[in-house]
Symmetry: C2
Subunit: 459 residues, 2 copies
């Protein structure tokens, strides 16, 4: 913005009743920026400001306010214009607001809405979180097959202000079944007398209201759509998802995948890091920290089992951190690559054998590299370590580097297989977090290490 008007200025302009200045401030700029500026005022002041612009712009700015502010603004004394504002809001944003209101306030406000809008809110708020139904919007434009282009454009001009998008227009029959769609671009280019039936596309990408929201977002991404129509089992049009919702979904899913991968549980918070209280952050992290801690304690039992081997050859202890790190790193790498390919639909569970073959080659190369490095370190730079008489340095070096190699080999393949198996078992593969994998790989690594030592050195 060229001339940002700050909170004290806004207040004094309101006091001085400089409505002309305020109006042009509210009309210019992106609604999101305006919302950010006025959010710092109190609800009453915001109401007075929003009263200066038409209801369309008002609802647009209102929709960009933080959910807290929105809830506070409609939860106060019932204002006449609340109903008016709500009727103008995007249907998906409105449904979201109702989900955040207290039950009695929501009911009271619903009473002030016309029956059709009321049932729209009730309907849209009834879908489970995470499904397409829960985020779709019902304010799309529709046409009939029999309409001419001329008539269609007239209709769209009339409907436009209350529609989320008019760039894709859906064609439905008498029972509201989706039969086709036409873009505004195509309408603008067509001859006025042309029939919609001859213009529309009938091969349409669709999704169902019960599908996972990520599915809708992936379709929009894959086919470069502006909007995706959502239907029920009888192909009746229920709503649409627009590209901007798709971007938000993909961002949210990415955050969720990343957090799961790093052993943070619970869904994605709506608020930002600093706004979320420490105790909530703690709750999201403690489950896995303690669980993985318990698994770590299980590892301690395994190490304990090999007490005698350890006591006989203390040098083995020095390389335990290396062994753990090597397994954890390579396992996490392959798990990450496979997980991402599964998420992006570039890889499918049926490809498991191809993955194993490929990861075998990769891990063999990696394990040779790391085993050689380890051998060089142990054999050529033994430092002050004393090797008990019954063992030779070359044997000990071989045991350690062989263990590192084996650990890399199995960890890489294991890391790659796990997300695929999870997908096959219909478990979200991201739940198999990298720390869980690392901890498990550590545990097996200890067994590999001391078993190789016992076997080759006879301790």
């Amino acid at each position: 913005m060229k001339n940002p008007i700050l909170v004290p200025e806004l207040r004094s302009l309101l006091k001085k009743k400089s409505f002309r200045v305020l109006e042009s401030f509210l009309e210019e700029g992106h609604a999101k920026e305006i919302a950010e500026y006025i959010a710092m005022l109190n609800p009453d002041e915001i109401w007075r400001l929003l009263g200066l612009v038409d209801v369309h712009r008002r609802s647009e700015i209102f929709g960009y306010l933080d959910m807290d502010v929105q809830v506070e603004m409609v939860s106060g004394v019932m204002k006449k214009h609340i109903a008016e504002l709500l009727m103008e809001m995007s249907h998906d944003d409105r449904a979201d607001l109702f989900l955040h209101l207290e039950k009695d306030i929501a009911d009271r406000i619903l009473l002030h809405l016309p029956v059709s809008e009321r049932s729209d809110v009730i309907n849209l708020t009834s879908y489970h979180e995470g499904t397409i139904g829960a985020i779709m919007t019902t304010d799309y434009a529709t046409l009939n097959e029999g309409d001419t282009v001329e008539k269609a454009i007239r209709k769209i001009r009339k409907d436009a202000p209350s529609k989320e998008t008019i760039y894709y227009i859906y064609v439905t029959d008498d029972s509201n079944r989706l039969t086709g769609f036409v873009s505004l671009r195509k309408l603008i280019l067509a001859r006025p007398k042309q029939k919609i039936a001859n213009l529309m596309k009938t091969e349409i990408i669709i999704a169902f209201a019960d599908d996972d929201q990520e599915k809708a977002a992936r379709l929009i991404d894959e086919y470069d759509l502006l909007a995706l129509p959502i239907v029920d089992n009888s192909r009746r049009l229920l709503g649409i998802i627009t590209y901007d919702d798709a971007i938000d979904i993909l961002q949210e899913e990415q955050t969720e995948d990343l957090e799961k991968l790093m052993a943070i549980s619970g869904g994605v918070e709506e608020k930002s890091y600093l706004e979320v209280p420490a105790i909530v952050h703690f709750r999201k992290r403690v489950f896995w920290v303690v669980l993985l801690g318990l698994l770590g304690l299980l590892t301690s039992l395994i190490v304990e089992e090999f007490r005698e081997t350890l006591e006989a050859l203390i040098i083995l202890t020095f390389y335990m951190p290396l062994l753990n790190a090597a397994g954890g790193n390579t396992g996490s790498q392959s798990a990450t690559v496979i997980l991402r390919s599964l998420t992006l639909n570039e890889l499918f569970p049926r490809d498991i054998m191809k993955v194993i073959r490929k990861e075998f080659t990769i891990s063999l190369l990696l394990s040779i590299c790391l085993a050689v490095v380890t051998y060089v370190r142990v054999y050529f730079f033994p430092g002050g370590t004393t090797i008990p008489g019954q063992f030779t340095l070359i044997n000990v070096s071989l045991v350690i580097s062989l263990s590192v190699g084996l650990q890399v080999l199995w960890s890489t393949i294991f890391g790659a297989i796990i997300p695929i198996l999870a997908t096959k078992l219909k478990i979200d593969p991201a739940t198999v977090s990298s720390p869980l994998l690392t901890t498990f790989v550590d545990m097996v690594g200890v067994i590999i290490y001391f078993s190789v030592a016992k076997l080759l050195l006879g301790i």
Copy 2:
């Protein structure tokens, strides 16, 4: 698609010259789906098929073919219609194709393009990879401030077929400087005689061609834009980025961040996991695996330093994996949360003190939980472990659980600070991978562990 026509069918239809059937197949459905079907034919067959539809549809389908296929198709004998097709393609897709052609082929084809198109290609291919310039497109629609709505719509109808989007139209002055923009929605709603100057928005979100491509994508996401205008330092309009490009950029950046976080180096591959040769996968992973291995070997030196402590109290060895896991897990958690908040612009380096305060509270809670669990395990379930006479079980339990607590405390805070410091130092925070963090935290953890033991137990 309702009636997928498979490769052999397509071939036999081509042989039988059933052009009517093929034409309707090519016209219906999404261009991406058509491209997927015909991609399996040979270049010559694809050319013959594409010849059946008008050049607009042809270029649309062509743009969805894999880059390999595109390159093969234009690299063969120079076909007359190549120039025609290239003139109709999205300017950004076209520039991308030229970047993949061999130099002499690109030059030969360029000669067949009109001068204006030629300089467009040369211009768009001149930007550095990763910048906005390298992915923007130049086929946008423009208007003058003085145009009336009537005239504007006539102009758009004429220009539409060759424009990437006509839903946002940019207003420029005589020197091509961006002065405003107007949406097609607004144009459709306006009175025919209204002047564009009175209709357009003048407060526009813009970006520069040299900016990082991620910046453009984030702006499109944040402001729910269909397209973002890209300008030079004099505010001259150079191109636009559309929402579908933004989605692709965000996906690619996410893959890159994830791979970096998991210690996989190099950029994101254009091809899918199975298409990338094992040796390339190996190269992307080996750098960090070996480097982290070397760091792991450094840790072995540190453990070696504490040889006497270890030999005096072998039980300490058993809990080393737990200590490593606890530090790695909590450090990775906090690093992930902070990294994601930085990426989404929800957190800024100036917030560092707030982050430290918050993470201190979180880590204190986590460390108490884990220390208690550890204490219970060591003290109440000592198993067959013998503690040498000079130590008591209670002391040893205290040392181990205190070390675990301290390790969690410092790792969590360290994990949170590192991405912030990296951002301050203008290093991509994702480069500070979780395995690097884990390895470093391990190293310090060993020092903490044995120092606490030495100090409290006097060994």
